[in-house]
Each structure stands twice: as C-alpha cells, then as structure tokens.
C-alpha cells in the first residue's frame, strides 16, 4: 500500500531545524525550548505518525503516554506477552482517542507484519530490546527503543549496522540527551569551557555483574495471560519462574556478564561519551579499582564509574572535569560548576527526567529522516563502553579494547564474552 507523503508542519520544521542546529556546537542535535510539534493544532488522522507499542509494562506505559500526548501521533496497536499489560494499554489508547480501535498482540511478529505502522516503541526490557528493534527495522518501522538497548558488544554493533542498512530512524531511550541541564553540562565540556577535558564521572547504580540462570519451575500460566515462550525470546530456554517475569531485570546484559553498570551506565556513560565527543568510539582500557571502574579513552580522557561521592543533585549524576573547571549535574535539574562563571546564562531548569522532549525529537526525525539525538551509532558505542566495563568487572582485571577492530587486545577470554547465541528461532 502506497501512502502519500506526510505533511510536515512549520512547527515541526522549526523544531527539527533548531534541534539539529545545535549540532554546530555539539555534533549532535540539541534541546531547544519551545512549543511542541503539533501540540497547538489538530493534525488530520491521515497525516499522523502511526504507532505501535511493544512491551508496555511500567516503563513502556510511561513512554506510550508521552507519545499519546503528541497530536501528530496515532497509536494503532499495542503488544505485550502479559495480558494485563495489553488490556491496560489498550484502555489507555482507546481513552485517548475515544474509540475502541487499538489492536492488541501477544506476538510482536504479528504486529510488525502490519503495513500501516510507521513507528514502534520498543520497551520490552533488556532481554528483548535489541532483537525487537532489529526485527522492527527489518519490518520497515522506525524505532524508539528503551535502554539498555543491547545485551552485548556484538548486538550493539549489529543494531547500528541494521539501522544503517535499513535506513530506519532509531532513538535510544536515553532521554537525558534531550534535557537542558545535561545538555548544558555536555556543552561546557565540548566547547572547551572546562579547558582540556581530563576526567568524566558517571554513576553506574551498581557494579556487580550477574549471570542469568535457570530457576525452579513454577506452574506456567496460559499463553493468553503470559506467553513465556515469547517472553524468553532470544534468551536460552528455562522453565517458567514467576521471579523471572520482571522484564526490567530479566537477562539485563544477558550472558555471563549482565547487570553491572548497564542500569545507569546506559544513561550516564552515554552522556560522558557525548561530552567527550566520542559517539563513534569507546574507551580503550577498563580496570576495576576498589569499588569503582576506571576506563581511559584513546585521547587520554579518563572515565570513572562510581556510586559514591556525588553532590546531592539527584539520580543519574555525571561530572565532567577539565583543567580549567568542572561541572556536575543530575536529575534534579540543578547544575553545579566551578568557576561559578560557567553557570552564567543558564536559565532553564527541568527536573525529573521526562521523556517528552526525547520523544518529540524522535517524531521530528521520523518526518525529516534526520538522525535523532540518541541515534543507533551513539547508542551502539555507549553500550559497548558499558559492556566492556562489565567484562572487566566480570573478569576482575584490566582489559584493553580496540574500537576500530571491535575486539579486546590479545584477550581471548574477553573476546569470547562479546556475543551470545540467540535462542531459536530468533536472529539478528
């Protein structure tokens, strides 16, 4: 079915243009305050971006709400292995549009086969996010994908490659790239206001790696209530266990080295990557030091993952230090810096890490086909940095990584941890 080109509103262009415009300073689109595309006027149904949502638990529901607030979005379908999630999401979507039209799916393949969906939310949890995103791209959908987006280094690279090959728009759910205080801090780092960048600090929210396993079986629910087989998806088979049904935690990172710094690292390390103008690479050395993980980029900049010693500015803090000053910020929306002059001109404060701006950036890029702020390449390398850090933590020793070859240097143990087979029938 051929569909006519969606009209792009002036406001959409404004946002896109302005957002992309900041790339001059940051090499990536930046937050621009102002009214939101389509918010102020009705968008005819036929010109809206048609949406499906895959994985609509707690986080997925929140992200879906952000999309539903946009007037140029029409959500047509929701998909989840959990029947309660499906019913709840359908009710929310139908209430938004005042009809009963939202279709529900248990199997993402059936939903992705629809030719009338432009884009999908993927919020399936770390086990599924990367695989589902690649499936969606191959099915011709643009993707807003929650983090962590990948389970290992190989999947990170594959994700970027699939998005490039398919030409799909991909936005990782690292919404702090669209929040003004984080952008402000990154801009100070990238424009030389801190002097020569020396050390970046990121909060990992835990550095203990986990090995996923096989728990004692519980009675398996009916597929309509909870489809265990699809829930397992690319993860190796194990019997149903109620304790494993928290998709937010299940197989986080997967393999032998899940967990670790992935939880916040996919946000905070991502911001450090951005601050260091390192969206296309990753640190080359990683080493556990006490209760921290230290890494070093090829340009000499240090990356420190630590959970303590932060200013009380809220969750998900980052700190960038140069030889002429430092800046620290977190989810409260406040920014601390030295010298104080660095804070001149900062006016806007938004706390609480809302995803609305990030969602808006994604929708604008769906229309213009520009790269969103947290595009697949940026997400790929931020995740690689986290996975490499986790491998170092798992092996309890220093590892050296070659970003050009995508391999650890003279380190067979670490290299074998870069990928993991997917359970049949799933593939990348």
């Amino acid at each position: 079915m051929r569909r006519q080109m969606a009209r792009v509103s002036r406001r959409g262009l404004l946002k896109s243009a302005a957002g992309i415009g900041a790339a001059a300073a940051l090499g990536a689109p930046m937050f621009v305050p102002g009214r939101v595309l389509g918010k102020d006027g009705a968008v005819p149904t036929g010109e809206r971006i048609t949406l499906g949502a895959i994985g609509i638990g707690n986080r997925g529901s929140y992200v879906l709400r952000c999309f539903l607030e946009e007037n140029d979005v029409q959500c047509l379908a929701v998909c989840d292995v959990n029947g309660q999630h499906r019913d709840r999401a359908k009710a929310a979507v139908d209430a938004r549009y005042g009809n009963q039209d939202c279709a529900t799916y248990r199997d993402l393949r059936e939903m992705l086969a629809r030719s009338d969906l432009d884009a999908v939310i993927v919020a399936t949890g770390p086990n599924w996010n990367g695989t589902a995103a690649c499936q969606a791209a191959r099915a011709g959908k643009d993707i807003y994908c929650e983090k962590p987006c990948t389970k290992n280094i190989a999947q990170s690279l594959m994700l970027a490659e699939v998005m490039r090959r398919t030409g799909r728009v991909f936005q990782a759910g690292t919404q702090r790239r669209s929040l003004p205080h984080f952008i402000y801090a990154v801009e100070l780092a990238r424009t030389g206001k801190l002097g020569k960048l020396q050390t970046l600090h990121a909060q990992p929210a835990g550095l203990a790696t986990k090995t996923s396993g096989w728990e004692k079986p519980d009675p398996e629910p009916a597929k309509e209530d909870f489809d265990w087989d699809i829930y397992l998806g690319p993860a190796a088979w194990r019997p149903f266990n109620k304790g494993l049904t928290n998709a937010f935690e299940f197989e986080k990172g997967g393999g032998l080295v899940g967990g670790g710094c992935l939880e916040w690292g996919s946000h905070c390390v991502d911001l450090c990557q951005w601050a260091n103008d390192a969206d296309g690479t990753a640190p080359i050395e990683y080493e556990p030091v006490g209760n921290q993980l230290h890494a070093t980029y090829a340009n000499g900049v240090k990356l420190v993952l630590r959970d303590d010693g932060w200013l009380p500015l809220g969750s998900c803090p980052v700190r960038f230090e140069g030889d002429r000053g430092w800046v620290e910020t977190a989810d409260d929306g406040d920014v601390a810096a030295s010298p104080a002059k660095l804070l001149s001109g900062r006016r806007q404060k938004i706390g609480g890490y809302p995803a609305n701006f990030h969602v808006r950036n994604f929708l604008d890029c769906v229309k213009t086909r520009a790269q969103p702020r947290a595009n697949a390449d940026a997400a790929c390398w931020a995740h690689i940095a986290c996975h490499a850090a986790n491998i170092s933590l798992f092996l309890k020793r220093k590892v050296r990584f070659d970003p050009a070859k995508h391999e650890f240097i003279n380190d067979d143990e670490a290299n074998r941890l870069r990928s993991e087979a997917l359970r049949e029938p799933w593939r990348w």
């Binding site: 080109m5 404004l14 992309i20 690279l157 030409g167 002059k341 001109g345 067979d412 990348w428």
Partner: protein
C-alpha cells in the same frame, strides 16, 4: 556519510576470536576447568547445571568441548545453551558439528543451528544452506537465505539472486535480505558493479517494501556520483517511504556534485520539499557550498522554508548571515523568530559577536529587546553596560530583557547596580524582575553578593517594606551565615510585613546543597518564642524539614533534635510531620517516641500506630524486644483499625 567499512559484526567478532585463539591457544582454554565442565555435560547432572556449564564453556571451551556441546543440539531445552558455548569456541570443529546437525535436525532446532552457522559465516555450509532454501518449513528456508547473505561471496549470491523471483513470498523477502547483505559485502570489497547488480535486482523485485527501500539506498550509494539521478528520482516521489529513503540517502552519498544536484533540486521543489531538502543539505556538512542557497531561503523563501533555513544557519552560516537572521528574529512570525534566535545564539565567531554588539548599540524598540536576549544567550560580557542602561529603559520589554540578561550573565559586581534599582522599581513586576536578577547572580556567586543586600534588608536609607522583602528573598540563593543572620534579624523586625516574610523565608531556608544547617537553631527559637501562632507553625515545619533533610546528623543528634521540638508542637498537622520524621529515622528511640505520640493525642493515634507496626516488624532498628512489645501493645490498645491491630498482634506473636 556512507561507510565503506561496514563491520559485518558477527563475522568479524568470531573471526577475530579465532585469530586470537590461534595466537594464544594455550591460555585460551584452561584444561582443568574445561574438563570439569565437559564432565557436567556428560553426567546425569540436572539441566540447570548443564545450562550453566554450556555458558562457561563459551569462555573456557576448546575443541575438546565440542562433541559434548553438539550432543545437546537436539535437546529442546538445552540446545540454545549449547549453541551459546559452540558459537564462541574458535575452532573449526564447531563448524563441522553444526553442519552435521543441520543435516539431522528439523524445525526450530534446525533454525537455531542455521543461525549459528550464519553467525560463524561458515562458507563450507553454503551448499547445505542452499538445499534448505526449498525446505517446506518457511522459517527454515528464510533463515537459510539470511544465513547465505551473512556468509556472502559469489557462491552465496549466485544461490540467492534467483530466489528473488523463484521462491515463495516469505522466502523471497529473506532472499532479498540476503542479497542486500551480499551486495554490501561486495561494496565493502570495492566490487561496485556486482553490488549494483544485486541492489538493482532487489529494488526491482516483488519483495516487501522495506527490502525495496534497502535496495534503492544501496543502488544509489554503490553508484557514487552516477547515483545522483536515481537519488533525485526518489526525492521527487510522492510516496512517503520512497521520499524518506531519498532524504536519508541524500545525507549519506558523498561528493560536491551530489550537493550541487540537491541544491538544483531545491530550486525545482515545492515549499514542503524545499524545507526537507534544506534539512538534508544542512546535514551534509558542506557550509561553503550550501550557505548561499540556505541564506537566500531564509531571506525570501516561503514561510515554512524560511523557518527551516533560519534554523540551520547556525551550522552553515557566518557573519554574513547576521542581518537576515536579525530581521527574522524581530519578525511577527513566532516560529521564524524562534528559529532565527536559536541560530543567532549559536552562530560561531567573534565577528558575529561584534556585529550583534554594534547593532545593539544602535537599536531601539523590539529590535533592542531581541538583541539584548541574543547578547545574553551568547554571554557577551561587553554588553553589560548596555544591559544596565536598558534596565532603566522606558520600554518594558527592553527593560525586562535587560534585567533577565544581567541576572543570567552578571556577577557580584552588578549587584550594587541592581540594588540601586530596587527602590526605584516602577511596579511589582519590575521589582520581581530585579529581585530575580539578583537571585540569579546570588545563586552563582553566593556570599559575595550578600553585603550589597544586607543594608536593604535592614531598611537602611528608609526603603519601603516591599524593597526590604525583595532583598530578603534575594538573600536566599546567596546563602551563607551573613545572609542567614540578616534574615534571622528580620524575623523580629518591627514592620509586620517584613517580619512575616522573614519567617516564611527562614522556614524554607535551603537545607540541602548548598548546605546551611545553621537555620535550625533560629527556627527552634522561633518555634519556642514567636508571638504569632502562624510563625510558630512555620518555624516548626521548617525545623522538621531540617531534621529530615540534614544528612550530616547522627541518629542520636537527630533524635535529640526531635525531642527539642516536641514540646512546641500542639497541632495534629505538625505532629503528623513528626511521625513521618520519626518513621524515616527507623531507630529504637524513634519507636519509643512514636509510642508516646500514639497514646498522647487521639488525633494522630492511627498514624502513629501505623508507623509503629511498620517499624516494630523490622529487626534492624536496634530496638529491644521489650520496647517492641510495649509499642505493639500500645497499638493493640489504642488503634481503632482492626487491620493495624491484627498486624500488631501478629508481630507480637513472633517476638520471643
């Protein structure tokens, strides 16, 4: 831009692992560890143990582990675990085992094996995979087609290309995916002609729309400059997806001639397409070539086109763009104004700063307001004299913009100037704008601003109560002992309005970063001795905020602080705050005080009992069993909630 060095990730990873293993073979597989893991697989060990053994063999396994792992490929529950081990082992015996399994398995298990072969890019499997293309199970045949694509090379391409027309629709889609993968590999190897042939075959085949788009993209990129006509053709399409792949590819295809062609197309396109093309052109990172046409679009394009063009000029522009952008920024079109301002704020260059400053000097009215805002956003310290002058401008817009700018980029040196303005404020709005400007500076420069504000807060010079209150407000973000002392002094001021505001200010004095716990004692004093009941209530609330928020307090000190305020608390609302504070403390002392509160005031008995039940059930609060029993017994006696009483009794039973 298009990357010719697409990684073909898995192949590279597995290949490099194999190379690394060849170099470091003795260290790669500790024999003892491997032996133990293999024994687990060959034993009657429970499946969970075997599953984990498979995972560890991904690190420690060598060719010795392959037979034991391969034996599990037909096990429905363990096959994927086995492949986790097998895929990672850098030895050719794995490929032999997978090929062998491909001949024996069916259905999902076969699909899994084919996918592992795909990941390992086993060229010896091509004939076997080709045979699977006609498997009656379309999942098998589709996976075989994709695997052939991942393996790539002439033989794989020769097998796949005919499938674009011959295979069943579902398999055809996978064959197209395989052809795109093969073409990409050809392109990376410099075999453009073969890549073009495959991409063209895909884009012309009856395959799903997404595959066609991938074929189009590849066909354009593989042709390089010769792909321009094909690119332009897509950009003219009325089909959203086709136009979309054109826009994406327009950002990837390199070459000045490509940029020129896109610029030429810009002249032929309608307004809507022009805007999209401008955004794509801007992403090509070629300012000298693109700037003139975008600047012209910003000057004279259709309204939407002007917005798009103005919005990208920060990346493309230079000082020559300033006049057009300034005019746009002062226009009546809100979208255009925002786009132009954004670009002007970011347009790089000291010559841009100089141009804006010169214009600011000569400006008036709305233009002056816009230029002040821009000078602020560009942090032009040189504009400060103009800001200060404009802070007294007759035009309210310019005045407000100037005060905002002073607040945003000023330092402590500007505070005296602002302080002078405060008594002269024309109205409440002006006073608020001045107050906010001082507060903004105070938030950054802290104590350095305080000496300028203290005299005003005291009322020196006979300033009005409004001015004094504004000064008190402005002291808050400055923080520090002098600011605090000034506010504390004002809590006993003779002027009731000043006194009220000082108490309100003190009761919300920051007790987190920047930390200033010294507010606690004056708050306690006010709670004890303030004459107005409202002041005592505010003081109690402020004090409890401090007790809850000051992370430096030891548990003992925190409890002592609560004890100090308890006699002053008479209203249930504040008692509830105390209960919440005590509950957050989670200590034996807190439990004791909660017990007292539960008995002392029926208005808060239920809240206290609820907190007791939740605390007394925990073993980590350091409370003796005697204290826990006493607290819970109080709940049983006092609570009117059956559920709470039952819970208390249940916990009581568990205390020995």
């Amino acid at each position: 831009m298009f990357r010719r060095t697409s990684p073909f990730v898995m192949a590279l990873l597995i290949g490099s692992a194999m190379r690394a293993a060849a170099a470091d073979a003795p260290a790669a597989a500790p024999p003892q560890r491997q032996e133990e893991l293999i024994k687990v697989l060959q034993s009657d060990a429970p499946k969970p143990q075997k599953a984990l053994a498979c995972k560890y063999l991904a690190i420690y396994g060598g060719k010795e582990a392959v037979p034991a792992l391969a034996a599990l490929l037909s096990d429905q529950e363990l096959a994927a675990w086995a492949r986790i081990g097998l895929e990672a082992i850098p030895d050719s015996s794995v490929d032999d085992a997978l090929r062998d399994a491909m001949d024996k398995l069916q259905g999902r298990l076969l699909v899994g094996v084919i996918n592992s072969i795909s990941v390992r890019r086993d060229a010896k499997a091509i004939d076997g995979l080709a045979a699977k293309l006609t498997d009656k199970d379309e999942t098998v045949s589709s996976c075989a087609a994709a695997a052939l694509g991942h393996i790539g090379g002439d033989r794989a391409a020769q097998v796949l290309e005919p499938q674009l027309t011959a295979a069943a629709p579902a398999v055809r889609a996978a064959a197209a995916e395989g052809c795109v993968l093969c073409a990409e590999r050809y392109l990376n190897e410099g075999n453009d002609a073969r890549a073009i042939a495959l991409y063209d075959a895909v884009r012309k085949a009856q395959v799903p729309r997404q595959r066609v788009l991938e074929g189009i993209r590849g066909a354009i990129l593989a042709r390089h400059s010769a792909g321009i006509p094909l690119l332009v053709e897509q950009l003219k399409s009325s089909d959203k997806a086709i136009m979309g792949i054109g826009l994406r590819t327009a950002r990837e295809l390199r070459g000045d001639d490509v940029t020129d062609a896109l610029i030429a197309e810009l002249g032929r396109a309608d307004a809507e397409r022009q805007a999209l093309l401008i955004l794509a052109l801007a992403d090509r990172n070629d300012p000298p070539r693109v700037r003139p046409v975008v600047l012209e679009a910003a000057r004279s394009g259709a309204p939407g086109v002007r917005v798009a063009a103005a919005g990208v000029l920060d990346r493309l522009g230079d000082v020559s763009c300033v006049p057009v952008l300034v005019e746009a920024a002062a226009s009546d079109d809100a979208d255009l104004v925002q786009a132009a301002k954004t670009s002007l704020a970011r347009l790089p260059g000291k010559d841009v700063d100089a141009s804006l400053l010169a214009r600011l000097n000569d400006s008036s009215g709305k233009a002056r307001q816009v230029l002040i805002e821009l000078a602020e956003q560009r942090k032009l310290d040189q504009a400060m004299p103009i800001f200060l002058k404009s802070a007294e401008d007759a035009d309210a817009g310019a005045r407000n913009a100037a005060l905002t700018a002073i607040g945003a980029i000023g330092d402590d040196k500007q505070v005296p100037d602002l302080v002078k303005l405060l008594p002269q404020a024309k109205d409440a709005n002006d006073r608020r704008a001045i107050e906010q400007a001082v507060a903004s500076i105070g938030g950054r420069w802290g104590a350095a601003c305080v000496p300028h504000l203290v005299p005003l807060a005291k009322g020196e010079g006979g300033v009005s109560a409004d001015t004094r209150i504004a000064a008190i407000h402005a002291l808050v973000p400055c923080g520090g002992p002098d600011a605090l002392a000034s506010v504390v002094a004002a809590t006993s001021d003779a002027d009731p309005a000043v006194q009220d505001e000082a108490v309100r200010t003190l009761s919300t004095w920051p007790n987190r970063w920047p930390t200033d716990a010294a507010a606690a004692q004056p708050l306690l004093a006010l709670a004890r001795s303030a004459q107005k009941p409202a002041h005592r209530v505010l003081a109690v609330r402020g004090y409890l905020q401090y007790v809850q928020g000051d992370k430096k307090l030891s548990p003992q000190q925190r409890l002592a602080d609560v004890d100090a305020i308890l006699p002053q608390i008479t209203r249930p609302d504040e008692k509830r705050l105390v209960i919440a504070t005590l509950f957050g403390m989670a200590s034996a002392g807190a439990l004791d005080r909660l017990t007292t509160l539960a008995s002392a005031d029926p208005a808060v008995t239920e809240e206290a009992c609820s907190a007791i039940v939740r605390l007394a059930g925990r073993n980590n609060i350091g409370a003796s069993n005697e204290l826990r029993r006493k607290a819970l017994q109080t709940v049983v006696e006092k609570s009117k909630s059956e559920a709470t009483r039952n819970k208390a009794q249940e916990i009581l039973k568990g205390i020995r």
